[in-house]
Structures are given as C-alpha cells and as structure tokens.
C-alpha cells in the first residue's frame, strides 16, 4: 500500500493543504482557484472533509470557488463561527454553504475544536485538532481569554496536526498568533512535528514582536522543515526578522517558501525553472515559484519532500542571490 501524501499548495498568499489517503481531507482552501485546479489535475472528485482554520479570505476563498464550481463532491465542512467578520467573501461562503446544506449536498457544521480530534482520521493518518478549545471557540473572536487578552480571528485559528503511527508528521497552524499559541501550550498542547507550516505566512503578529513569536513557535514545534506559504509581492513576507529568529533557534532547519520572496530575489527568473514538479502551483504561470507546491509522502520513518531538496537548493543558489534562508549556511548543506 502506498504512503498517504500531503500537498501544501502554492496558492500565493494563503494556506491550503490536501491530504490524500483512502479519503481526501482538505485543511484550508486558500484564495483563488488553485485548489480547484489541483483537484482537477489529480483527478479528485470527492472530498471527505474540508477543515477551515479561520474565516480570513486567504483561507476561505478557495472554498467559495469549490462550492460555486460544483465540480467536486464535498461531504463535510467544519469551521468555527466568527461574528467579527463581515467580509463579502465570508457572507458569500455562508450563503453557499447554507444553500448546499439545505439541498443535502454537504454537511455544514460549525465548530472545529480540540473535541474533533480523531473525527476526520483517514486509514493511515490521525488528524488532531490542537486548538482552539471548545471554551475559547464558544467565546469566539472579539472576546477575551482568561488572561484578559483580546482574541482575534488569528488567535482563534484551528491548529491541525497529522500523525502517522503516533509520530507527529505535519503541523498546519493556520494564522495562529502569540496569544493563540500561548493558550495552546498553556493547556498542555504539543505542537511538535517533523514538518510545520509557519503561521500567518511569516508575516506580522498582533504584538509586533516577530522574533519572540518565531522563537516560541520553533522551540515548541521542533520542526526539521518549515514551510512558508507566501505570495510574492504581498505583505512583505516572510519577514526577515522571523527568518533570522528561526535560523537562530534551529540553525539546521530547512526552509521552503512556496513563492520567491522579493527579499530573496528582486528579479524573477527569466526561464522556467526545470526542477519544479508538475504539480499545480499558483506561481508557475508568472515564474514566481520558489519551492512551489510541496508534496510530502508521509512515510512512517521520514517524510519525503517533492520538489527534491537538492534541486530546490540549487534553484535558490542560482535564482535568489539574497535568499533569507541562506543567511546561515547554504540550503544544500543542510
């Protein structure tokens, strides 16, 4: 039997991951049509569950597209309520989900908390929901935690961890900020994982103290590989202070950005990079990819990463003269 796989899609600025095992589970849907394009190219016609970390546009727009298109069957959608959001996208998504739920086309359920751990497991992958707790989810964005700190949509991000035979493989933390992370860790949560997606695309956090947040996250996740799901030219990500703190905390960490940050290369490559995989990537058409869409084979021992790390390192050394991830040793030497 083949190993389950996880694709961390290059959706530009946003998050979307697709777990493919005996069933397909999607965590966040990104913006735009990349998820739709990916599902079509992989021949996926049915999704067991879509789990949405929070209601920000760069995590839900792809779900709007999915329901609009009617090209894929979705069995279940789970999302936390967010009374603070009044965006047109959020309104359209709830409209579409309500309509689909009414027609019996999907089970639309509100609430994605630690109580849902195990509810979406596939044959080989355990799916844990590490945050928020039901209590925090009940209070919701706009309320305050037990320390009196104001909770934002990001603080309330659902944090998902994938395990294979009890071994933590991948952490998908949405946009969790320092308040959300502290609440998670204070409650005894364990976010250790072989591979982690860095929260909020390596962008700003509520307190503005990027370095201390990055240090706390790295210390707790102990990740060997960190993915930054970024859109070139959007929001100045990943922030150099974050990468510096990451490399200071875990010098041997391997960093993979989905797109080529302007911090790393002021110019885009003039030829198509040959090493990128054939997987659908948002940045491919305009040559904005760095790693592009990242596919992980979730083997029991160690996850295999595509594009292969050596080819990705060679691309960085050739195309990204000021690569942030090269500040402490070349990627190819890690």
């Amino acid at each position: 039997m083949s190993d389950p796989s996880l694709a961390i899609l290059d959706v530009g600025h946003g998050n979307c991951a697709v777990l493919i095992d005996d069933r397909v589970v999607v965590v966040d849907a990104g913006p735009g049509t990349t998820l739709l394009d990916f599902l079509e190219s992989e021949g996926i016609k049915e999704i067991e569950a879509v789990l949405i970390s929070h209601a920000d546009e760069d995590h839900i727009k792809g779900l709007v597209s999915l329901f609009e298109s009617k090209t894929v069957v979705v069995r279940l959608v789970r999302i936390n309520s967010d009374a603070m959001k009044n965006s047109p996208t959020w309104n359209d998504l709830t409209y579409l989900l309500d309509e689909a739920n009414k027609a019996g086309a999907v089970r639309f359920e509100v609430g994605l908390t630690t109580n849902q751990t195990g509810d979406f497991d596939t044959a080989a992958v355990r799916i844990e929901i590490l945050a928020p707790t039901p209590g925090l989810a009940a209070k919701g964005p706009g309320s305050h935690d037990h320390k009196g700190r104001r909770l934002t949509s990001n603080s309330m991000s659902a944090v998902v961890r994938l395990l294979r035979n009890g071994k933590p493989k991948v952490l998908l933390p949405g946009d969790i900020d320092e308040i959300g992370l502290e609440n998670l860790l204070d409650a005894g949560g364990d976010i250790a994982a072989e591979i982690a997606v860095f929260p909020h695309h390596g962008g700003g956090v509520a307190s503005g103290n990027l370095s201390s947040f990055a240090t706390s996250f790295c210390r707790a996740s102990k990740a060997e590989k960190l993915v930054f799901s970024i859109g070139r030219g959007r929001y100045d990500t990943p922030r150099p202070e974050i990468i510096a703190a990451v490399l200071s905390e875990i010098p041997k960490v391997r960093i993979l950005c989905t797109q080529l940050s302007e911090h790393c290369a002021s110019q885009l490559p003039t030829t198509d990079p040959p090493h990128l995989t054939s997987k659908v990537s948002r940045g491919k058409e305009l040559r904005r990819c760095c790693a592009g869409t990242i596919s992980l084979s979730l083997a029991e021992k160690e996850a295999t990463v595509f594009p292969i790390l050596t080819a990705h390192a060679e691309f960085i050394e050739g195309a990204a003269p000021s690569a942030l991830c090269m500040k402490v040793g070349k990627p190819s030497e890690k």
Binding site: G32, T33, T34, L36, D37, E57, K61, V64, S65, E68, S69, K70, T71, S87, P88, T89, N91, D92, Y95, L96, E99, T270, V280, R282, K284, E285
Partner: protein, 225 residues
Amino acid sequence: MGLNVLGESISRVKIIDDDPTARKAMAFTVTDADLQPLPDDGPLPQLKTFVSLAKKNVDAVICDHRLKGQYARFNGAEAAAELYKAACPSVLCTRWSVADIDAIRQYIRYIPSLISSDDVSPDTIASGLARCVREFKNDPVQSRKAWRTLVRVESVESSLKPPLFYVAISGWDSKEIIRLPLSLVPSNLRRRIKPGVRFFARINKGAEQPEALFFVDFEFPTTRK
C-alpha cells in the same frame, strides 16, 4: 527561425497596426522573437475575408486594438476574437485595455493574449502565442480557465449608453468592483440584473487583472436572491 509550441510551428506573423511607425517597431520585436514579420500596410478587407486570408497565409497575427481611418473597418479585439474562433493564434496589443474595456469585454473570452503596448517584447509575444495554442489544444493556462462563480450585482446604470452594471465577485477579489456592459448578459436575462441579485457565471477567476476577466454561461438561481 520560428517557434515550436506544443508541436505547432509558428514562423510567419502578420502585423496589423494603422500606424506605419508602430508596424515597423513591432516588426523589429517580432524579428527578435525569432519570427518572420509580415507588416500589413492595409487597407484590410472585410473581417471574414481578413481572417480566412490570415489563416491561409500566416501562422499568427499581432494586432493593435484601435485601427483608424481607411486602414480597417473593424477593431483589433474583433479581429483577435474571430482569429481565435478560426484557431489562428494572435496577440492583441493596446494601450487602451482599461479605457476601452467596455467594448473589449465581450471579446475577452476569445482573446487569451491581451498585452499592454508597454509590455511588448520578444518574450511576451512568444508566451502570448503559446497561450493561444494551449487553448486550441484545450489546455488553457490557470488564468484562463473558466469556473462557475457567484456574482453579486452592486448597482445598475441602465440610462447610460451603453447600459452598464457593476458587480462584486468575492471568489475573485472581494474588494474590487467590476463594471460590465449589460449587453454581456443574454437579452432574455437582462431584466433580472438588479442591485442585490446574485447569479452564477463561468469566469476565469485565476486572472490577476480585472480587464482579463471574461463572463460566459449566465445562470440565475430560482429560489431566492
């Protein structure tokens, strides 16, 4: 000399522009793209004849949008659209894509390669022609694939000539309002375009710029707004 795009060979490229200086400049760029430029000094025949001659005599066409005076009795967008329907690759170049968008919009479905005059280069010409060939082979680039999409009508200006309406497409960009000519909607559905109404259309919402969006297959829900 020439390009090979997905097995299709392109070398002879007709250049359509009513400005002789612009034709000459474009010919240099086409040459730099390793293609053979064939500037057309006009006047051009009727559109149907023009397309059938182009299909017969050249491999591709590069066309300016605004064609004035006696040079042509059609504009570049009309020409590019008809060339597309005849499976002849073309690139439409214009400084007027924003200013003329209401007139161009109805043709965008058939114009894979609309580039600003400022962006014309051997690379953009080659990639523009490649986009056409990919569509002819039913393999459009991500930004040209059409998906069923929810559209919300924000306002209607039916007294204008031409009548216009404004829509929001949150599946594309929730902050941008798009202006569309009412003539884009099939005549039997136009009366249903009212502020607050939601409908579906197939839209290439992978496109980055609002000028690149096309709308086809309009569909109105029957249950509620």
